[in-house]
Symmetry: C2
Subunit: 397 residues, 2 copies
């Protein structure tokens, strides 16, 4: 029996269906995982209690919070008490930087020249010096060594870059820092190592001791968890000054009634991505290789930016000389492809990306560059469609 299709049916269908969407901006935002949403739901409804209240139902909420904290700690290889929940990755980066730097007024700090704005801007409030990266986006370790002086108390180097996906030699940075600490001895200033791991958490090891970090930032909104949830790992014994004071939640480091559902969601999301990170990383690595091979075949003038070897498996960043990325993004959007030119934060202003400048791109080349970031729902068929669209659009222009 055939189901009758009335015109009304068709109309409804065409209204609710969207044009084919190929989402390639996972570095800007990830869709909420369904398991995460299901884990959050009871804490938005039944378990709405304030975890600091004293009755049993509230104590249970506190217990679930602590379970979430221990899950996050598991992936960091840390103690639960070293996990501070924040309202987002930006807040975590700010807490790390201000939390240390406000204690040492005459000190300085080092950041890489390609950090995210949430590190660059708070760092700019202090004597912050930039460590160069090489043309492939990797940190220049010699430049790092030379720029550390007696007054350096904080080094903040991102784990993986949000624009070009370059993975930094975190363990090597940690080694250098360890050497400096030894030389300084007990009489010198402390030297702390912070890493912004917001883009790395989907694919890389987060074990704090293996990495050698003292402070590490995570962002729920980049790992298929809820937006404006985050974590700052704070190694035991490190004193931080809080940004937000009050009721003393999160061991005094982040006051305010806890975002219970958000924390449960973040912990669930982290567990899911860290459990699958190798498998999903390999899947995307293959897609990445296939895309880049097809791209350079279809568009021989295309230049891939940033290290191929030391790169997040979901990142595709390239220059199409002679094109205008603003125009191209609009045309791609019309073709159902959602992509970016750089970080979403700086999408609205017109200044060329500091990351692309740091790796030596001219402003013209920067304005001819695209960032496609893949994720769970990205398929080879989608990428083939993107290549076709790029071919068509650049042939036209």
């Amino acid at each position: 029996m055939l189901r009758q299709q009335t015109p009304g049916h068709c109309l409804v269908y065409s209204m609710t269906s969207k044009p084919l969407n190929i989402y390639l901006d996972y570095a800007a935002a990830t869709p909420l995982d369904k398991t995460v949403a299901a884990a959050m739901e009871p804490y938005l409804t039944h378990h709405f209690y304030n975890p600091s209240a004293t009755y049993d139902a509230a104590r249970q909420v506190q217990k679930y919070l602590n379970i979430a904290r221990s899950h996050v700690a598991h992936w960091l290889g840390s103690r639960p008490s070293e996990v501070v929940f924040t309202a987002g990755g930006t807040e975590a980066n700010n807490l790390a930087i201000h939390g240390i730097m406000r204690q040492f007024p005459k000190s300085n700090m080092l950041i890489s020249s390609i950090e995210h704005e949430s590190v660059r801007v708070p760092a700019s409030r202090y004597d912050a010096r930039e460590v160069n990266v090489q043309p492939d986006g990797r940190l220049d370790l010699n430049d790092l060594r030379q720029k550390i002086d007696d007054k350096t108390v904080l080094i903040s180097i991102m784990y993986a870059n949000n624009e070009i996906g370059t993975v930094q030699p975190i363990r090597e940075v940690a080694k250098i820092i360890k050497e400096v600490r030894k030389l300084r001895g007990l009489s010198g200033l402390p030297l702390y190592f912070h890493s912004d791991a917001c883009q790395a958490a989907n694919y890389l090891d987060l074990h704090a001791d293996r990495l050698g970090v003292d402070l590490l930032s995570l962002n729920g909104g980049k790992i298929y968890g809820p937006k404006q949830t985050g974590v700052l790992y704070v190694k035991a014994g490190i004193k931080l000054l809080p940004l937000i004071d009050g009721g003393g939640q999160e061991r005094g480091l982040r006051s305010g009634t806890e975002n219970v559902a958000g924390i449960i969601g973040l912990a669930t999301a982290l567990t899911l991505v860290q459990t699958d990170r190798r498998e999903e990383g390999e899947r995307l690595r293959k897609l990445q290789q296939q895309f880049l091979a097809s791209l350079t075949e279809a568009l021989p003038t295309a230049i891939v930016n940033g290290s191929i070897k030391y790169r997040l498996p979901n990142n595709l960043h390239f220059t199409l000389p002679g094109t205008d990325n603003e125009r191209l993004l609009i045309q791609l959007d019309e073709a159902g492809i959602q992509a970016a030119a750089g970080s979403a934060c700086s999408a609205s202003d017109q200044t060329p990306s500091h990351v692309l400048r740091a790796i030596g791109l001219s402003d013209t080349d920067a304005q001819s560059s695209l960032r496609l970031t893949m994720g769970r729902h990205t398929t080879l068929a989608q990428l083939e469609q993107v290549i076709l669209s790029l071919q068509k659009l650049t042939a036209k222009s």
Copy 2:
């Protein structure tokens, strides 16, 4: 036909049902409104895009954010650009205080002696002086006048107290501030008025100009909205320094990818409570009167704390001389009644409430006091049950 009830059915029923819960801690946390949850849902799922991205789907999210902003502005009688979304009420209070005070290093600020910790603690980083309250919890306006000096740049007086529910004479404070500004003229320091309206938003007018405030804090988690969402109203022309820097969201005052679902939820929740505030306020006012009448009849030694006249309609705060509130709260919880001794934030530490001290209670009386805060699901039958329980429990002890 009768539906057969197997033992299994009964078992399941008894497992999923809870003992009768009478929740009387709405000042600590409110359950999420179902309409709010429904409004948030699409922004947790379909509309997950980063509002700063450039493709159409992301611009739509940005558009919905702006609609939410205009809804909040409506209730504040403000322009949308005067609404800053924060991650909670505590953050909003911190942003107001640090945002102003960091600009004026040699100035001072005034707070009432009964402010919430999220005002008290950030204020304590500066030269902050306390203005007394009268024994009924209302601000002593003469003391306020006397304590304002040439170096006072910020006055932070809560709209309604979180423990005893006292509503402060905000409009009168605003008048005094206006007079001081006139006297200072253009050559003097500015003088700003901040009010923490987190507990007031369910029942009172929030129109900023009518109140005469420059800065006003709201908390989503106290108005049947999501936790760790908040608003700081910032009157046009007032310069604030941000707490959290980075991508420049919220006009540079709160960086980090916006909590889109949270903001939509907060705006929806605010609209719901402000639309119903008079009706719901009257309903609770009646319950409040009935409870307090029954209480003093059933337990003649009971003393009600704080002004009866200038009081949030949902607040019941009283001393039962000779009782121990810690023990009583446990017993009430066992009887299915969830209540508090003070603010949830300070529930865990053992120091007597600064609010109760400020209105002249002895530490012994403070430790014999209970806070019951009513809300949407509170009924007369529940309150009668509470009176019966209190009678039984205090007779025993």
